[in-house]
């Protein structure tokens, strides 16, 4: 009964609020003609905790892989530092995006989580797709709207203060905030309906850094 009512509520929220596609922030589409790599994680019966370490593994791999597109022709200190910076930044960002996708995806759906990385000149773009229930998507959109109009530094400090007082008070989105504030990244989101009458949406988070 509770489950049926829950599904009904999800559909109601979905039908009332979700447009076919909603774009927020500096979202850019993936350009398939550019150098790219995609990892796809199928839904799994293995618990989130047991799969958690894989996020770090995948994030480090993406960091190591993308560095090869920024070769060190001159083996000097500057280039090595740039490579270290690229590897570290990509690893941090990819890990945060995967952690968020794992935490907030609908685990009962068959929709996979994908991590797509792309090199476009001196820009690196990371895209993560995951499913999300309509009710969770609404909360997420509210966070995005608040974040997009805020001063990033002030918002960062205020989120740290809030989570220190009560970890469960509100979705902090601290991963996204650190990505924008500490890594000078551009960030955007695209929400899409999976199918009509479904309480499930997909969200693609895009992060772009200049390296």
């Amino acid at each position: 009964m509770i489950k049926i009512f829950g599904n009904f509520l999800e559909r109601l929220i979905h039908n009332n609020h979700a447009e076919k596609t909603d774009i927020y922030g500096s979202f850019k589409d993936s350009l398939t003609e550019k150098e790219h790599l995609t990892l796809e994680f199928s839904p799994s019966k293995i618990s989130l905790n047991n799969r958690w370490g894989n996020n770090s593994l995948s994030a480090n791999f993406i960091g190591d892989y993308l560095v090869t597109f920024f070769p060190h022709e001159n083996d000097n200190h500057h280039i090595l530092n740039r490579q270290k910076l690229i590897r570290s930044s990509v690893s941090y960002i990819a890990n945060e995006l995967l952690e968020n996708a794992m935490k907030y995806c609908d685990e009962t759906s068959n929709f996979p989580i994908t991590l797509h990385a792309q090199v476009d000149g001196d820009n690196i773009r990371l895209f993560v797709d995951n499913s999300v229930l309509a009710s969770a998507a609404e909360k997420f959109k509210n966070f995005i709207k608040e974040f997009m109009v805020a001063n990033p530094e002030e918002f960062y400090i205020s989120q740290l203060e809030k989570t220190a007082v009560d970890n469960n008070s509100k979705y902090s989105g601290l991963g996204f905030v650190t990505i924008v504030n500490d890594y000078s990244a551009k960030i955007g989101w695209r929400f899409q309906m999976l199918e009509r009458e479904s309480p499930l949406l997909t969200v693609t988070t895009m992060v772009e850094i200049s390296v």
Binding site: L48, N49, W52, G53, N55, S56, K84, L85, S88, S89, S91, Y92, N95, E96, E99, E153, Y156, I157, L160, E161, T163, A164, N167, S172, L174, G175, V177, T178, N181, D182, Y183
Partner: protein, 114 residues
């Protein structure tokens, strides 16, 4: 005192009086960081509010870990006579990027990046 996981180690060194961090800390959320937070609070209490965190061997820290450190710092700044130092390394890029924000939470925090 020590909190050890598959890819990380956090321990108190009696000789230097530092709390050392090493490896990769990417735990699931604040709940999983509680043992480390408890260790930091215990050391701070034992040393009358004086504590040094040595992060120079900590390769990665996720945003939940940053949140844990900020929670500890916010607790410290409430105490009188607290004296806190963080030792960091420019060789580990995230430290130069993210740790400066912690100083905004507690201006008296000494951040030494080498």
């Amino acid at each position: 005192m020590e909190v050890k996981g598959e890819n990380y180690n956090v321990w108190y060194d009696n000789d230097s009086n530092y709390v050392n961090f090493s490896g990769t800390l990417r735990l699931t959320g604040m709940k999983d960081y509680t043992p480390i937070l408890d260790l930091l609070n215990n050391i701070a209490e034992k040393q009358s509010g004086k504590i040094t965190l040595n992060l120079q061997q900590l390769e990665f820290l996720n945003s939940s870990g940053i949140s844990m450190l900020s929670k500890f710092i916010i607790g410290m700044r409430k105490k009188k006579s607290s004296e806190m130092t963080i030792l960091a390394s420019y060789n580990i890029p995230w430290q130069g990027k993210s740790l400066k924000n912690l100083q905004r939470l507690m201006p008296s925090l000494k951040l030494e990046i080498e």
